[in-house]
Symmetry: C2
Subunit: 311 residues, 2 copies
Amino acid sequence: MSTQVRISEVSLRDGLQSISRIMPTEAKKECILAAVRAGVCEMEVGSFVPSSLLPQMADTAEIVEFARGVEGLEVVALVPNLKGAQRAIAAGAHRMSIPFSMSETHSVRNVRKDHAAMIAEIGAIAQAVAASPEGQRPHFEVGLSTAFGCTIEGPVNEDQVVRLAEASIEAGAVEVCLSDTTGYANPAQVRRLVRAVKAAIGSDRLNTLHLHNTRGLGLANVLAGLDEGIRTFDASIGGLGGCPFAPGASGNIVTEDLVFMLEAMGVDTGIDLERLFEVRKIFAEALPGEPLYGFTPDAGLPLGFNNSREK
Amino acid sequence: MSTQVRISEVSLRDGLQSISRIMPTEAKKECILAAVRAGVCEMEVGSFVPSSLLPQMADTAEIVEFARGVEGLEVVALVPNLKGAQRAIAAGAHRMSIPFSMSETHSVRNVRKDHAAMIAEIGAIAQAVAASPEGQRPHFEVGLSTAFGCTIEGPVNEDQVVRLAEASIEAGAVEVCLSDTTGYANPAQVRRLVRAVKAAIGSDRLNTLHLHNTRGLGLANVLAGLDEGIRTFDASIGGLGGCPFAPGASGNIVTEDLVFMLEAMGVDTGIDLERLFEVRKIFAEALPGEPLYGFTPDAGLPLGFNNSREK
């Protein structure tokens, strides 16, 4: 039986929020449909932040509603705070994720909350989720961002990440994710931190890694996470995205290269690569001139790839 | 005690042979000196192929002689056949490597020899090495190229690679290397094949991987090899290089990103990254307009990297 891995496609949120151009709502819908046709089953479709801050995300409520109508798709939204969470609940997102920066300096700079204030916010959101009508209760995840280091603070203490993971679960989050916001992570660190957090909060409460390819280590870090039991990886078509508040951080890992690696290894992602390349084309047409990253689309698949697939 | 890994810098051979421009001999010498200043202790400085075929390599004998005079540098040359090997021996290379394509179709197309003829050639070279004067006896390695797949044949049978590794050792090679000429390799395959070849010929006779980043899997494949005991990795400054006879194959893994990953993991490469970035500049000046790859030089090192080095 193959290992199964879920790709959480974040191009419409983490990708788009990092570029100034605004993708039209209709184009976003087209991307969603094409991604689902390619086998993508989870997408982070937007972020409930004020549109004055991120106009690229202004249509998130409409996009969430549309995506909920697409069969077989888990619809994820990012929320920065309780207010955003309430909007996500009202919009019917299946999952929501709040970024919680492990670097307190970055947290204060990014959302004007220190760690204690963030834990309180997580608690308030968990209560809002519990109070929401059954059937409209998003799966609440805390994204531990800058978990592998911060451009402002430098190295982030690993014990601190473990403690804040524990605090997030105690405050009511269902699970956490580890995010390499700044592309600082290396594979040894990924192994160590994933192992430590899983040991502290339970293996089932850390399933996801959000990795960046800032220094080219993205897929090596995926491999390290896979070895440690991670089964969901965030990725972005064409590697769009980064963190506007962590200068120098660029580039989510590329969905196309990630899916190629996993499928080549005999891991089942449920995604059809040729159809995924079609999704990339739609992004390219909707964002003319925007740089897209990744090697596999240009290099093509190896000769005999589809026939020799290891299962 | 940290794990120690050797980087075999192949930009002057695998990098330069794939671009049409000819790097002046003096610039090559400058690159060698700068690389050694950065801590590089092994370089594949050229190839003893007829200069009519590869004019970029016409100065190999002079470069080998120069490099032999640089303290602390293991000088490696590629040889395609017995004649090239005799030139390498005469020039005083410390190590020489012959590419032996695991895809017989590629072997015939590349050097007009089938597998049996190549084994005979390897035997003849081993005899020439044994007959050479002590002190002028290069360490003879066979590079098992297209070991992970071929653009002409497609998948390459893993048992065949093991058999040909055994045959190479029996014919007199001191060790073999596995080369992903076409950038087809995936981490699971790397683990399997390294394990199988080491088991067949002895762990000490397979120490090196030559990987390409054609589909972005280069560093993930490095990680897989490291896990299986590989301790030498070929890489190219700026990711120059590929195989002129395997269409679509491009890009050695990037030395800068590789060294960053290893050093960040606490692996000792002996290389100073800031000085390595200086070597890249020399290449850029010597080859104006030639695309250079890699992410770490542009992204810079993480804040606190030098102080937080894990040892």
